[in-house]
Amino acid sequence: MDAAVFLISAAIVLAGAGGVLVARSPVHAALFLVQTLFGVSVLFVLQDATFLAAIQVIVYAGAVVILFLFVIMLLGVDRFEDLGVEPIVGQRPVAALIGASLLGMLLIALLVSVDEPTGAHGANAALGDAADNTRRLGEALFTDYVFAVELTAILLTIAVIGAVVLARKVRGPLAPLPVVVVASATIEDPEAGDGPTDTTDGHAAGEDT
């Protein structure tokens, strides 16, 4: 059972990763990435790491790739690309070389130390009950690693503030360009939302509503 689940989800992960590489449309590539993330999340469940599995889907599939898609759609780069053109000359052979050498390193590590692939005994065993791992993670993060957690939080806050500062409009003598303000947001629209909204009836049934 475990082996079957592992094989199927590993196949899904690899197919998704391959899809990201060969998909000609960026949107398709992003969707293949979601497929890979799902496969990884199933692998987490297989390891009794249910919390990580859920967070994997919520954070990566639910937020990160959605942001990718937003950017792809809003920047209008969502067209099919010609993969025959190499944007940076010589990039592909170098990438192939690096990929092959990484694979070689992995294989050597696996073949030399058969019993403990990660170098630590029993690292693949569950730490405890599956129901327990949310509590364990929380305890570890907020006792032993609380400093790192707080630092990460500060880093993220700085990133947010930095983004706001960079994106905000500069006024006064330093203003680079005249800023066009869309006024529609502050104008009252008397029509908006008047009357009953008949969305469902209008679509599904039509005449007798």
């Binding site: 059972m1 475990d2 689940v5 449309s25 949107v27 398709h28 969707l31 979601v34 469940v45 297989l46 009794d48 249910t50 919390f51 599995a53 859920a54 967070i55 889907v57 919520i58 599939a61 639910g62 937020a63 959605i66 898609l69 937003f70 759609m73 809003l74 969502d78 569950a126 009950d129 599956a130 129901a131 791992n133 949310t134 409009k169 006024r171 800023v179 303000v181 006024a183 947001a185 502050t186 629209d189 029509e191 908006a192 939302g193 008047d194 009357g195 009953p196 909204t197 969305t199 469902t200 009836d201 209008g202 679509h203 599904a204 049934a205 007798d208 509503t209």
Partner: protein, 409 residues
């Protein structure tokens, strides 16, 4: 607790049913539960669509569906059959693969969420029912990360809307889907924070456990102090794209929104998913805040009927309110929607979450409750004042800029 690795290799179901050796009988019971949940949801969607149309008609002083079946109750079925036989169009400029995939990305999460909702079981005991001599929960699965599973699926549901709009290859669906996904992502944060308060009071993520805690203590709507419940309701309504937050399909502006180009069966899948989400969101609200199937068990014979009855009645109240909102409230403007989400709901939910967390810590460490609460409230009020000041300043700046522009132009 029995180590999960010994019993079930996949731990997404911590049910007493799966504790022993798994034989064909147990597989049968699981299958029955799955099929029951599936049919129950489909039938209730059918009734819900009819109920919504009938109730809105009553509130508008119309008759509403009246032809098919008694009181028009079969109208949904007739509509479904009609949709089924309509021509299935794929626009020329559509991305065919994604266009066909999107409706399923909407529908499947809507179905799956219902799997974690405990719809019955006698929670004055341990919340189980006994079928054919086997003890089991009355829910398809009780994953240890239950409510996170709900959040994960609701973040997947965004894909259905977003990709449907993009793949249609036309501008109104694209505008609608960008609106929809921005709205759903914004309100997911408030929704998550409201739910996090429930985690704090219940101390568990599993839906079964959350209901059990509410039965032994007080219902979460009171235990968390009502505010998270209200935030959950508002954010949930926005997450469902229901009126008054249905800008996604504002027909005056966007034709039909993200599903403008969809017809026939694919449209009906979106439609189904929308109503299914209304039902599952109500069920989740009942589970998290209103004690799920808990309630007095009034008779000894057929005692298992009562929890089901209480659960359905509570869900029904929510469904009624959703329809009521739709029939009475006008649609919000887009900036009002975003203001409500980011400037009101998220700060309120976050502040309340911090307050509850402080009280929990004070309780653990044996600090006196009253000064801690007072200090906490003082900090929150100071924070709120700062936020209000910042918002006011930003608004003033924007206005000044507008008048400057006006003076120049």
């Amino acid at each position: 607790m029995i180590p999960a690795t010994l019993t079930a290799p996949l731990v997404l179901a911590a049910d007493p049913l799966l504790d022993g050796p798994i034989g064909p009988g147990i597989v049968g019971i699981v299958l029955i539960k799955v099929v029951l949940a599936f049919t129950l949801l489909l039938v209730s969607v059918m009734l819900m669509i009819w109920f919504e149309r009938k109730l809105v008609a009553d509130m508008h002083n119309r008759i509403g569906p009246a032809e098919a079946g008694p009181f028009g109750i079969l109208q949904t079925l007739a509509d479904g059959i009609k949709l089924f036989f309509k021509e299935d169009l794929v626009p020329d400029r559509a991305d065919r693969m994604v266009f066909k995939l999107a409706p399923y990305l909407s529908l499947v999460p809507a179905f799956l969420v219902f799997a974690i909702v405990p719809i019955g079981g006698d929670f004055s005991g341990d919340g189980t029912v006994t079928w054919f001599g086997e003890t089991t929960y009355l829910q398809v699965a009780d994953p240890p990360v239950g409510v996170l599973f709900f959040l994960a699926l609701s973040s997947i549901a965004v894909y259905g809307v977003m990709l449907a709009g993009w793949a249609s290859g036309s501008k109104y669906p694209l505008l609608g889907s960008v609106r929809a996904s921005a709205q759903m992502i914004s309100y997911e944060a408030a929704l998550g924070l409201a739910i996090a308060t429930v985690f704090l009071t219940s101390g568990s993520l599993s839906t079964h456990e959350i209901v059990a805690r509410q039965v032994s203590g007080s219902w979460n709507v009171l235990a968390t102090g009502v505010v998270p419940f209200l935030v959950f309701l508002l954010a949930g309504t926005a997450e469902l794209n229901r009126p008054p937050f249905d800008l996604v399909e504002a027909e005056q502006e966007l034709v039909g929104g993200f599903h403008t180009e969809y017809s026939s069966l694919r449209f009906s899948l979106f439609f189904l998913a929308e109503f299914m989400n209304v039902i599952t969101m109500s069920a989740i609200a009942v589970t998290l805040f209103l004690g799920g199937p808990a309630g007095p068990i009034l008779t000894d014979t057929l005692g298992w009927v009562w929890p089901l009855f209480w659960f359905s009645s509570k869900v029904f109240v929510f469904l009624f309110c959703f329809v009521w909102l739709r029939a009475t409230l006008p649609r919000l403007r887009y900036d009002q929607l975003m203001d409500l989400g980011w400037k009101v709901l998220i700060p309120v939910a976050l502040g309340w979450f911090l307050l509850i967390a402080t009280m929990n810590v004070a309780d653990d460490l044996g600090w006196p409750v009253v000064p801690v609460v007072l200090a906490g409230v003082a900090v929150l009020v100071a924070g709120a004042a700062l936020l209000a000041g910042a918002i006011e300043k930003a608004r003033g700046d924007a206005l000044a800029e507008l008048t400057d522009e006006g003076a120049k132009g």
